[in-house]
Symmetry: C2
Subunit: 127 residues, 2 copies
């Protein structure tokens, strides 16, 4: 099994890619990779996704500076999902300025925000 044919982009051009904080194990975000994004991630050690909304490569952190550096890459049994263990620079993965995108936690009253604010998106993205 070589890198060239694994993960398997033949059935789906975009595969789900899950970024997990290498220190805490928290799931920080879930985005998508095409083969080009995966290969650039491998080549540079810096996580690159494919933005479905912008339809182009998304070099995570290119605007905010909050890049993700790869510690480990795993692919699942079917070869169609990716887990990245990452060092999250700046301490925040989410465009809202929170540490993780998964800050909506279900409790008895519904979903509540228990996210940790790291930066103010108005300051970071208006630059």
């Amino acid at each position: 099994m070589s890198n060239a044919d694994w993960p398997d982009f033949s059935k789906n051009e975009l595969l789900p890619a899950i970024a997990q904080d290498a220190e805490t194990g928290d799931v920080l975000m879930m985005a998508w990779m095409n083969e080009e994004a995966f290969n650039e991630t491998l080549a540079t050690g810096r996580v690159v996704y494919f933005s479905r909304s912008r339809q182009k490569l998304w070099r995570k952190g290119e605007e905010s500076g909050n890049v993700q550096m790869v510690r480990e890459i795993r692919v699942d049994c079917d070869g169609d999902a990716i887990v990245l263990s990452v060092d999250q620079h700046g301490g925040a993965a989410c465009h809202t300025g929170k540490r993780s995108c998964f800050f909506n936690k279900l409790d008895k009253k519904g979903f509540c925000d228990d996210g940790v604010n790291v930066f103010d998106p108005k300051e970071v993205y208006s630059k």
Copy 2:
């Protein structure tokens, strides 16, 4: 924000659902949920996915007995991805009999299997 309109199944009928071991934080698997699967998961506390290959609800563990019981449910900033913290009964999430589906780890030689075998799929699925 109510459970009824969150997560957001309006743009995508199937949302990625990531199961994370409640004890270790390991990502065990990534599958898909439609609204019916999500609602049944909420109602029963037992994880139900939607199988894309079989095009029907997939009550995880219905054959192997390795059900996943929900400890926590999180939804991301866009409302289109789900993280489930689960108690993995039987200690194995993968149909291969391994603990996690993400047993293909990239090293310098390519992807290698560092999975932990928990059961023999020939014994479990031939019953």
